[in-house]
Symmetry: C2
Subunit: 294 residues, 2 copies
């Protein structure tokens, strides 16, 4: 096997992404010691049962102590408190990274606590499923997917490169971006689609009972695809929307304008407008197939 990536990795938060990362480290960097940290003892019991870590702890400071890589993989609302608690435990030269789906908020919440000599590399492996928890993870989750790293002006390029090499070893394509741009792109590709899916599934949940059971039976005609997305982790997604508020509200405003225009076209029987849009959207699908993301 190839060289050991890190000596000791602390995974603070060990759900779908954290546990997939643990499995990928086990597979591709067997010499690396893994410390898993979670708030709930039941989660840590699962981690021990699945043998995902060499040590487990409920205290993020204990996890971070002595680690040359610390990965925060909790919902975003826990970051500031974790930053405060691990600050004095981080060893000089350690790299702190994360896997959160929003990046400006992560910089805002963690940077104030960073001691000198610690390298901060915010990251976002753009991968996931609608399942959550340590049992839902798998090492192949990262295969062929993008990982976005956010180098800050003060981040040492070697630290960014080292984190990038880790994700590349797990099969990811790594690129860098600034936090503001990341949050705008993901608002369109991920946050708005999830918000819409949650809404439409919620709308269906509120239907009269007779209609609701049939919606479930006939879900394969389009609705089903939305229910998969709308089954994603509730706390994680609550935090994403609260922490990427501006970019989400901005793209949602555009979406609303476009939907209102379509609604009006339907009401007034303007078939040409509908057909024009539906023809344009077909082209986007082709672009995605060409970009090998389909």
């Amino acid at each position: 096997m190839s060289e050991k990536l890190f000596d000791r990795v602390a995974l603070i938060g060990i759900g779908l992404i954290g546990s997939s990362l643990a499995r990928a480290l086990r597979r591709d960097s067997p010499g690396t010691a893994i410390v898993a940290c979670a708030r709930r003892p039941a989660t840590l019991a699962t981690v021990r049962r699945l043998e995902l870590a060499d040590e487990t702890t409920e205290d993020p400071a204990i996890a971070a102590a002595g680690a040359d890589l610390v990965v925060i993989a909790t919902p975003l609302s826990a970051y500031a408190e974790i930053g405060r608690r691990i600050a004095s435990a981080l060893q000089p030269g350690a790299i702190l990274t994360d896997v959160g789906s929003v990046k400006q908020a992560v910089v805002r919440d963690l940077q104030p606590y960073l001691p000198a000599g610690v390298h901060f590399v915010p990251g976002h492996p753009v991968a996931g499923t609608e399942h959550s928890g340590p049992e839902a993870g798998f090492a192949e989750l990262f295969d062929g997917r993008w990982c976005i790293l956010i180098p800050l002006p003060e981040t040492a390029p070697e630290a960014v490169a080292k984190v990038g090499r880790m994700w590349e070893r797990f099969g990811m394509r790594v690129i860098t971006m600034n936090a503001d741009h990341h949050d705008k792109v993901l608002a369109v590709t991920s946050h708005l689609p999830h918000l819409i899916a949650y809404t439409i599934v919620g709308t269906a949940t509120d239907l009269e009972d007779s209609l609701k059971s049939e919606v479930i039976e006939f879900s394969a005609s389009g609705f089903r695809d939305f229910t998969r997305i709308a089954a994603s982790d509730p706390v994680m997604w609550r935090d994403i929307f609260l922490n990427n508020r501006e970019a989400v509200l901005e793209i949602l405003q555009r979406f609303n304008e476009d939907l209102t225009a379509l609604q009006r076209a339907i009401r007034w029987g303007e078939g040409d407008k509908l057909q024009d849009l539906f023809t344009r959207t077909r082209a986007i699908r082709r672009s995605i197939i060409e970009a090998k993301q389909a």
Copy 2:
């Protein structure tokens, strides 16, 4: 092989559904003669090349003459004209059915032309892909999916049963429903999801070019699922929205209210409201998995 379903089936319109039906008939009812009708000579040339029919014609009346089953499988906007043209060619005792995604409009457009002695069984095999045209069809398209039949007060039960047996032989589960109820259920499960998907992909198409290319690269994070739906046939979908206007506008209004409430919760940082909804929607996904529609 089992008994022949019909002696002579006329397929008026031979795109994804019509050509899948032709293939399923070839596979499961080899003694049945198939006549394919399309407006464009190029489509019929493809049908001949793929050997999907025994005869081809551009004239729906020629196709319908002598058929004991006539299936209309064109976009909805062509129905009234087809009804007018085939009326005098339909033989007594023949069954006329269709595969359209809206049913009240189909009854409205076809019933005025029906001669006495012809059995009218509006139908909707709820199956499809984002691809279209005779080359996109395949016999297995109907496997395990629902087919909804709409018996009218004057329809002979034997005619409904006979059409039902055909779809069942192709692997479908057949149920009956009235046209009004069908249109409401499909507005929720299919028409609204498609409208939303078309809108969100359209919103992304209008982004600045730099952002647009990244939206394509990072589409796997949620957006991609919408682009598949939004690649569906533009004319077919234009006609669905124009012909199921009331039910679509009604459910769209509910969706809009729900989306506005979520937008407000994000703006004011009301995390509890978001988390409550996201938890409820997860349960719907579980219902779909239990109904074996996932």
